[in-house]
């Protein structure tokens, strides 16, 4: 079981060139201007320009040609890129493909117009499932703008759209219960995974910007704090969806992915333990920064595909103290910072006095929580010197150390929370089928009998089955026989988790 190093290079350059936001760019997005790029806010601008122009001019007016063409072109590009376009209003802001748009002051006014437009028709937004041509766009305008006022109700518009055959459908407002559950789940998942991604990206930037100014570091830490608060809100609202984020094992460097996962798992466990939201945010921050000092060990040690020698091991075991030293550069020591320092120092200290660094006393509750989250995520993640243990394997290994290493009570809560087959586990069923656990943990038999999405031979998701389901005779319809290594099946559960409803 390894609670040791293993973090990849921190200075890894972003996978995509960073977009520089300038005043010039802002001008491009001004109200009424041309849509010149496909950035996250472009669809909103294009839609606004389209319906505003249509409200002023008749359908055959030349002034309408340009926005119609622009909207058609944009829809074609974005659908080709993302598969679909979903523009949704919720709580006074706009989501594009489940991503919350970040609005400037001017854009806020524009978004308000769009929201008003939607409200007038009893809709929450729309989804475009395919590319639109200009004729289709004009058809949309006839339905939305030029139809009599009496025909602007949600049902009338939806019927008209269906009749037109356009790959365009409207959605009910979020949160009013008329939206399908799957749509809500997908949106929540989208927001959760995006927030998780923000956290990983910000943490990666913090690690990469080792020599940056104090103000830059403070800026990043402030952003991380806000993101952590968002994650806590998600956890409080829906811990199952939240926990899915911790099953992510792809797409990011180990250091930031591991840190984000440990934060997510710690928050979830802290929530079960009974901390309030402020304490959960502190716990999340402490978990995130716990291994900050590991970067001082160097990539060679962290990525060494062999056991560490004495000197290397000593260097690694110094990382809690190095982390503390980094955290001590804060200007003031708030409760949040103290929690970070304590957890950084203690999260490799075992209850029986082993571990490192050597010190007296039982580790703090925060530290014991982060220790469990840290080891679990570390074990289930691929490292250069070993494979990724399967989630249930990792749990089994940890349970074997309950008491001497881990707090038994916390570990019990943790195992119940994630289930014996945590989300993301690839399992073989007694029916001979293979599937990925997408929902598990909690209470009762759900702990050992999760919900599984079955996979076809080529790894495509099929039906979803609930393993608590029983046949009329009383026996379970399906049971897990064993967990399987996803690498052997070429399956990456992370992708599945983001796309299931």
């Amino acid at each position: 079981m390894s609670d040791h190093p293993g973090d990849p290079p921190r200075s890894e350059s972003p996978t995509r060139a960073q977009q520089r936001v300038t005043i010039d760019t802002l001008a491009l997005h001004s109200v009424g201007g041309d849509v010149r790029d496909d950035g996250p806010n472009a669809v909103m601008y294009a839609w606004f320009q389209l319906f505003k122009t249509a409200q002023i001019h008749a359908i055959d007016n030349q002034a309408l040609s340009r926005p119609v063409q622009a909207f058609a072109d944009l829809s074609a590009r974005v659908v080709a890129r993302d598969g679909h376009i979903s523009l949704q209003a919720k709580d006074g802001t706009i989501f594009l493909n489940s991503n919350k748009l970040r609005l400037t002051t001017d854009e806020y006014v524009l978004a308000g117009e769009i929201i008003g437009f939607f409200k007038e028709r009893g809709m929450g937004g729309f989804t475009i499932d395919g590319p639109l041509d200009t004729e289709t766009v004009r058809t949309l305008l006839k339905i939305f703008i030029y139809a009599p006022t009496a025909e602007r109700s949600f049902e009338s518009v939806a019927n008209a759209l269906r009749a037109s055959g356009a790959p365009f459908r409207i959605n009910k407002p979020l949160g009013v219960g008329l939206k399908s559950r799957s749509e809500v789940v997908l949106e929540r998942r989208g927001y959760t995974f995006l927030t998780y991604s923000k956290l990983a990206v910000l943490y990666r930037s913090l690690l990469a910007d080792e020599k940056s100014s104090a103000s830059r570091r403070q800026y990043l830490i402030r952003k991380i704090a806000r993101t952590m608060q968002a994650l806590v809100d998600i956890c409080i609202e829906d811990d199952h969806t939240f926990l899915d984020a911790a099953a992510i094992k792809s797409g990011e460097s180990y250091a930031s992915q591991h840190a984000a996962n440990v934060a997510v798992l710690s928050i979830a466990l802290g929530d079960k333990v009974g901390f309030n939201k402020i304490e959960l945010a502190d716990l999340g921050m402490a978990a995130l920064f716990a291994d900050l000092g590991l970067r001082e060990c160097g990539t060679f040690i962290q990525e060494k595909p062999a056991p560490l020698d004495f000197t290397e091991r000593a260097s690694v075991e110094l990382h809690p103290i190095r982390t503390v030293q980094l955290l001590l550069t804060q200007k003031t020591f708030t409760k949040t910072v103290l929690s970070q320092i304590v957890v950084a120092f203690e999260h490799h200290r075992h209850l029986d006095g082993t571990g490192y660094p050597k010190a007296q006393g039982r580790p703090d509750l925060f530290s014991r929580i982060v220790m469990i989250a840290d080891v679990y995520d570390s074990l289930t993640t691929l490292r250069p010197w070993r494979r990724a243990y399967l989630p249930d394997e990792a749990l089994g290994m940890m349970v074997s150390k309950a008491g001497p290493w881990f707090d038994t009570a916390l570990l019990k809560i943790f195992v119940r929370m994630v289930g014996l087959y945590p989300v993301g586990t690839l399992v073989r069923l007694d029916s001979g089928e293979i599937g990925v656990v997408i929902y598990g943990g909690g209470e009762g038999e759900r702990i050992s009998r999760p919900v599984v999405i079955l996979l076809s031979k080529d790894g495509k998701p099929q039906a979803t089955v609930d393993l608590t389901e029983r046949a009329p005779e009383g026996h379970y319809v399906r049971s897990i026989v064993a967990s399987e290594d996803p690498t052997a099946f070429g399956v990456n559960p992370s992708g599945l988790l983001t796309n299931i409803a």
Binding site: N99, K412, T487
Partner: protein, 596 residues
Amino acid sequence: MAGALESVREFVLHIEKTLTTRRLYHQDSVPWRESLERLAERAIAAAGSDGLALRVTASDMFLDKLSMVHRPKHEDCFFFPLYRDGLRELTLAPDVSRADLAALLGVFEQANRSGAPPGEDTVSLLWRAGLSTITHNAIDGIGDMEGGEDETSRDDFGALAADLAAKISNPAIPVTGQQYSFVLDGDVRVNAQDLRYDSTTMRRAFEETPAVLLLTESEAAQIRAEVDEDRDASLLGRFIDILIVILRSPLEALNTAAIAPVFSQLAEGYWNGGEYDRSAALLIQLAAASRDAPRYENRRAAKEVLSQFLTNERLGAIVEEIQRGGTTYAIATQLWDLVPDDQLWPLLLDAFCRVSDGAGRTALIDALRRRVAGNFELLSGTLGSPDPSKVRAALALLDDRSEKLFVRQLIALASHPDEAIRLKGLAAAGRFGTPSGLEALWKAMESDPSKSVRLYAFRTVALSNLPGLAARLRALVTDAQFAARPAWEREKYVRLLGTVEGAAAEALFESWIPVKKRWIWQPKDLETLELAIRGLAACGDHGLEKVEAIVASGGKPGEVARKVLDSISRAEIGQNTFMRSVPIPEGPGEPSKEEK
């Protein structure tokens, strides 16, 4: 509608007014409470039955598209700091609570006064306020362009995050990644044959006994206790332990420069908060590190913190804290023990001189004695001080045993400028009876400017075995200046001489008796006559017979001799006459106040 608008405007403006009131008045004052009451009334009126959503911009709060308050100058705009950090909307529920309004005001105040704590922004304050009837919408600045005042805001984290989210949705096909034959995995040995942990064991255990994953009562109680505990105290305790571990670490790579100021802040924080025990505990650990830390830099850093923190002012103030019950003697002792003698000794002495009674004085005398026990030189130096109060304090620390260590210094006090101290010194000289002590006594008897000191010295000398006392006395009484001494003093010296020399002194005294006619006796002659007769009477039985003979001879000498004999017979004739009216102190006693 107009009425609703007005009530909202009134509410928003009243936030501003309430903030002003809170700046001007104490939180227990009536205006403070009333302003909040009025704000709550206006908030409920503004929220109506549907609630109220206020859009926040840099200079305005909007209800729909109507500005409720317009503050173009940022410094006048109470919501600007929150807007700057991302706040865009505040929503009040119809049943907006007073507590939430107060918390909201607190956030506005903190945002405008001191801003957010490091590592957070003002919107975080709002989040942390945990409002339930007031919700907020805010942008977090990730990926948007509103912050564009410095270079940091140009990073498009939003795009990076979206990119990562896309990668998560469409991940690469996994690989095993294992690059070498597995032997040992860091800390845990795993079966090297199949590298697989038999996880079915756990499942079987759970299915056979589902309660295995339930917490026992004690486990649940312990978790609850830890969740409910005072985390501040716990965190601070752990934080200090961590800092000490770092300070005592032998590793050169650790930079302790950042730690030393933290220790100072902690100690000062505890001190200012009146938690002297915690402050002392921290400083004790620091002191230990200053002695034992393997690295010189760390030892020096610890010493510097100690020396900078334990100022004379603080060390002295602790006495007052003991007096008023703010701390205990044990804590004070712990603190005092951290300070070198040369710094602490004068402080304690000063304090001891100031504090006349009570727990503080007891504590001080104990502390001073503890110090003396470890370093006698302290007392030695203090006994030589010209400051009477310090000398008195030093004398108070002495007992029968310890004073023998300071004989020379104590005898030297006989020449101290302060009369009371001289008396103490003479008392010690009398007790010790050393030659130097007796010399000091004689010197004081002979020439001390103070009557009481001379008297005390005389009494002590009279009981002593001062070598050559008779000769010294004879020289004294025959000195030309002897007549200038007060009568009582001359009488005592004369009687002492008679007692010491006996018959040998008779001739001297007889030579002093004037031969005069009755009508020419002057007071001075009578004075000399009486002095001579008293001396003669002190010379033993033979001298007394001579006095009786003078009585029998009549005249003025007979008259005076009768008076002398009467005074002697009223006392105990036959004893040493000088003892009649002179109580001699027994043992090492000191002169009483009356004697002084």
